[in-house]
């Protein structure tokens, strides 16, 4: 291969881009410029000496501010952790570092990942690179903006109810929410532990795939992380027909959906059908209850996870006027948390409190099971579901900040996937009035590879960041036929999960 650009030149071009544009966009809370240049120099030296280089050697990746990177600040977009320095690295971060990635900086986010617009950051909102008057979505808004403004190659985010996919859709990035347990959560600041997953945001499906494959896998430090043994699961397979089957859930094409988005998504589905996919209209009858269940389960876990921020061991500690320990707790938390964090702590405390637990939290957990069953039944008939990622394109800054419930509704098409523990990817699918549209593909647990394959077909149809290009019809049909054959080997049920400790 011919050397065309040194790692230092490449890194400098990204740093220049940040210097030029990030004053307006505010994707980054901190850029580690000097450290990044020093690392790039080492990469160039390695290449010059013809040493072995890693899969992502010298590739610039941005980290959402709730991921720990040893000896670096990590504030989770909150005042309570403004000066907190991580004492260890998250497993996903460490895995990327081990294959040579360089972390360029930490990106802005809604405080403790609670929000859908990045306006809940204690450090001010991030603006959408496509239109600075619009939000980026959230909570991984800084990561989505950094990626689409080409201020890094890719970024890590976290997704609890749509926090990777929704900002990816609003900014025009590819965003993957992996299967629950596919990526270790060790070193990710916990928001809602039964729903949180770390995943990549990138400009192409292939980039997202490379990063996902680098960070996935069992980790002894996260008891919920798993190893899925595909070979065991396929033993129970029964023959199914060759065509891939795409389900279109009618509950995702309802009146609250922008009609132009509906048209945009269905046009892509029609193209896939023309290329040989079988498209079926299906129903996920309990979809309407998902957001309600989510806004009980998630705050309940938030109220528990955020109890650790009490001013005792690290972070902000308001001790000046406090007479005793209890007053110190109360004042630290009053001074350190923003409005949305407080709102969800109170809501979650309510859902778990005596007298209300059965009527709210327990009912929400039962609803979660019913929603999961909807998907189990559906995936007996189809291999993929295609939906819009969001009901609207990006909205204006400040438009929804006064009404939390309206803000919560931005997650209506993304939360079910988290409740059911499924993988889903948002793919840029063209523009409406200059703003990106996200198409969401959902599949069975641990079938991320198939999301990537179908995602690659779709991104070549409406590719935002390059001139539109299409794979030749023959190639498209060949991929769709191959995918169909893959599904023919798959079991007609959820794959078994192998959790053997390593």
């Amino acid at each position: 291969m011919k050397k065309q650009l040194s790692c230092q030149e490449l890194v400098k071009s990204y740093l220049d881009k940040i210097k030029k544009d990030d004053g307006k966009i505010h994707a980054f809370l901190e850029v580690w410029s000097d450290e990044v240049m020093a690392k790039a120099k080492k990469v160039d030296a390695k290449i010059a000496k013809k040493e072995k280089i890693g899969l992502l050697e010298g590739i610039l990746i941005a980290l959402k501010d709730n991921l720990l990177y040893k000896n670096h600040l990590a504030s989770s977009g909150s005042k309570i952790l403004e000066k907190y320095i991580a004492s260890y690295s998250a497993t996903a971060v460490k895995k990327l570092e081990d294959v040579g990635a360089i972390f360029i900086g930490r990106t802005n986010m809604d405080e403790f990942a609670m929000g859908s617009s990045t306006e809940n950051s204690a450090y001010g909102p991030t603006k959408n690179p496509r239109d600075l008057s619009q939000v980026t979505g959230g909570s991984s808004g800084g990561s989505a903006a950094a990626v689409t403004a080409k201020m890094c190659v890719a970024a890590l985010g976290s997704d609890t109810g749509g926090s990777i996919r929704q900002p990816a859709a609003f900014c025009g990035a590819v965003g993957l929410k992996p299967t629950y347990s596919a990526v270790s959560r060790y070193g990710l600041m916990a928001m809602s532990s039964s729903l949180d997953q770390i995943g990549p945001l990138a400009n192409t499906v292939e980039d997202a795939e490379i990063i996902f494959n680098a960070i996935k896998g069992r980790d002894a430090k996260d008891a919920t992380s798993s190893v899925i043994a595909r070979s065991e699961a396929t033993k129970q397979s029964r023959f199914r027909n060759d065509k891939i089957k795409i389900g279109i859930p009618k509950e995702y094409f309802v009146s609250g959906l922008d009609p132009q988005i509906k048209q945009n998504i269905l046009a892509t589905v029609a193209k896939l059908e023309k290329d040989g996919a079988e498209v079926k209209k299906i129903s996920l009858p309990h979809t309407d209850y998902a957001l309600a269940a989510y806004y009980l389960i998630m705050p309940a876990e938030v109220s528990s996870n955020l109890a650790r921020f009490d001013g005792v061991k690290y972070g902000l500690s308001s001790r000046g006027k406090a007479k005793n320990l209890l007053e110190m707790y109360n004042q630290t938390r009053a001074n350190g948390f923003g409005a949305e964090a407080k709102r969800r702590i109170i809501l979650g405390t309510f859902a778990l409190s005596a007298g209300y637990y059965d009527a709210y939290y327990k009912k929400a957990r039962q609803t979660q099971e019913i929603i999961k069953q909807d998907f189990v039944k559906t995936f007996k008939d189809v291999d993929y579901l295609i939906t819009p990622t969001t009901p609207t394109t990006a909205f204006k800054l400040g438009e929804r900040t006064d009404d939390p419930l309206t803000m919560y509704l931005s997650d209506i098409f993304t939360v079910s996937v988290n409740l059911a523990g499924l993988p889903a990817i948002s793919i840029p699918n063209g523009l409406i009035n200059g703003l990106p549209v996200g198409l969401q593909i959902i599949s069975r647990p641990f079938e991320e590879n198939n999301l990537f394959e179908l995602g690659k077909i779709i991104e070549t149809t409406h590719y935002l960041n390059k001139k539109p290009r299409r794979l030749p019809a023959f190639t498209r049909r060949l991929i769709i036929a191959t995918l169909g054959r893959f599904f023919a080997l798959c079991p007609n049920s959820w794959p078994a999960i192998n959790c053997s400790a390593n």
Binding site: V312, L325, Y329, A339, R343, I346, L347, L405
Partner: protein, 97 residues
């Protein structure tokens, strides 16, 4: 359902969170509206009952209970983060006045 200021006070106490009078009023309004929305989940259970399965069942696993030492630099970083300390000890406020 709507929630009272007294309930907000009680929840804030349980959550160890000091709220200003204007915050209490705002959260009373917001949380009442959210509870009004989420109460729809009560409806689907009128027809069916379903057992609650532990969150993300089947993927929990345990490991052997082995004592492992913390790395020296990690230990130092943790101690350095204490808001107030005496030597290597973390100093906190008195539990009682």
């Amino acid at each position: 359902m709507s929630i009272t200021i007294e309930q907000i006070d009680h929840l804030a106490h349980l959550a160890r969170l000091e709220l200003t009078p204007s915050e209490k009023k705002k959260y009373q309004k917001d949380i009442s509206a959210i509870l009004e929305y989420v109460k729809k989940i009560q409806k689907i259970h009128e027809k069916t009952t379903i057992a609650v399965i532990p969150a993300q069942a089947g993927i929990q696993s345990t490991r052997d209970d082995i004592v492992a030492n913390c790395q020296t630099d990690e230990r130092e970083a943790i101690i350095k983060a204490f808001p107030e300390k005496e030597g290597n000890l973390n100093k906190v406020k008195a539990v009682f006045d």
